[in-house]
């Protein structure tokens, strides 16, 4: 994974100096993503559940990466609403695309399906920043 990261350089420069909200309930996955974003020069604000995500979404954020299902049958929808209200772009990240099909379609944001390459995540965040 690391070798691939180095060879594609995707999103490194453009994420530098940005603040990224990551909401993800699998800490191992979050660990991997957050490290990769920090290596790209970004500052990561991390929430591991809906409550923390909602709490942290109020800080200044440039872009967000949201896991769709956050356990306890909760989804990231309330966070999506807050981000929308503030005009912050975001990317969805889900291992449950089939089951959450309608929920995801209704949100109408870019979706990355787990498991997803770190370089792809970084590129998607750069793209979201450009459109947002």
């Amino acid at each position: 994974m690391n070798m691939m990261d180095r060879s594609t350089d995707a999103g490194r420069a453009s994420l530098s100096g940005k603040t990224i909200l990551v909401v993800e309930d699998e800490v191992l996955i979050a660990m991997d993503i957050n490290e990769s974003l920090e290596e790209a020069g970004a500052r990561v604000v991390y929430g591991r559940n809906l409550r923390q995500g909602l709490d942290r979404v109020e800080q200044p954020i440039d872009v967000a990466l949201l896991d769709v299902s956050l356990g306890h049958s909760e989804t990231c929808l309330p966070i999506v609403e807050r981000l929308r209200a503030r005009g912050v772009p975001f990317v969805l990240h889900s291992g449950d695309v089939q089951r959450l099909g309608e929920t995801i379609t209704n949100i109408g944001a870019p979706v990355l399906e787990k498991p997803c390459d770190l370089a792809v995540i970084r590129r998607a965040l750069v793209a979201a920043l450009a459109t947002g």
Partner: protein, 361 residues
Amino acid sequence: MSDQAHRTASDRETERGNDFDRARDQAQRMQIHSESGVLFEQAMAQTRMAICLADPNQEDQPIVFVNRAFRELTGYEEDEIVGRNCRFLQGPGTDPAQVRKLREAIASEDVVVVELLNYRKDGSTFWNALHLGPIYNEDGSVRYLFGSQWDVTDVHAARADEKHARMMEREISHRMKNMFAVISSIVTMTGKLDGAEGLAEKINARIRSLGRAHEAMLEVSFTEGPTDPRKLFEDLLTPYAPQGRDSLTLTGGKVPLDSNVVSVLALTLHELAINAVKHGAFAAQEGHVSLEWQVIDGSDGDGRLRLLWTETGGADPGPGPERHGVGMTIIGRMLAMGEGEIRYDWRAEGLHVDIQFPTSI
């Protein structure tokens, strides 16, 4: 139903009166007299159990009595029922084997309980738990066949759902094992071709632990409250323990666990076990690990799982490593991410580790 709601109390009174009259008429027809006759009338009219009596001494064993619950269950009126053999409730979906069982029981004067798919007057079906048995005359000859029926359609649906869930569970288990096996093979193959077999094996050991942990928790429904993590701990640690289960003491009860805590638990215990194999209790044949767990209150009011890992019988671990290895670095970072903590105490008798993290990550 709404129809029923609009009935006045006096309507209901009249209806109940009619029911009693009807039961009395039938009781008279059946020559049930005196006090037992009155009891019979009232009991039959009131019970919510659908009841019928058939006469085995008449041609084709016709029904001679049904109560109100029977009429309500089947949707037929009394004059459409009395005089007919019970089989008019059967239809194309009724299992002939169950009907045969019924027939044999009647012939041998046995009491039998069968579940039959029956049909109402409007063609709709219901699962009928039918209890059938003989009622005798004083001389020992069969006087009536007594049938009580209960609509068990809901039970049937629940059972079918459960069966389906079991099937899915097995399918998921199978696919999951396959997936972990495939991942393992890829890691091994890549390691071999890239000259990193040692690294591949380390990765594989972690993957195997994850697989074992998720397999152990597959039957656990995380939404149904606290779960017993004993099997999870056993499956994770036994492969590394020199004398298997005998090298372990597991103490603790049920704890509320979220599914995403399983991976964290699995990797944490895996690293501790690997460390014990290399430098601690699992390196000695007589070495022992005690794992205690309990739920404690966190500062934010959320429950935290506390694990106490105590090694004995191994070599003196010394003052502890200057620098943590890969495994301990992984646990440390992972627990920090999930707002957990880990403390190592390198005691002379063996390593002692105190771990805490939220039960819901």
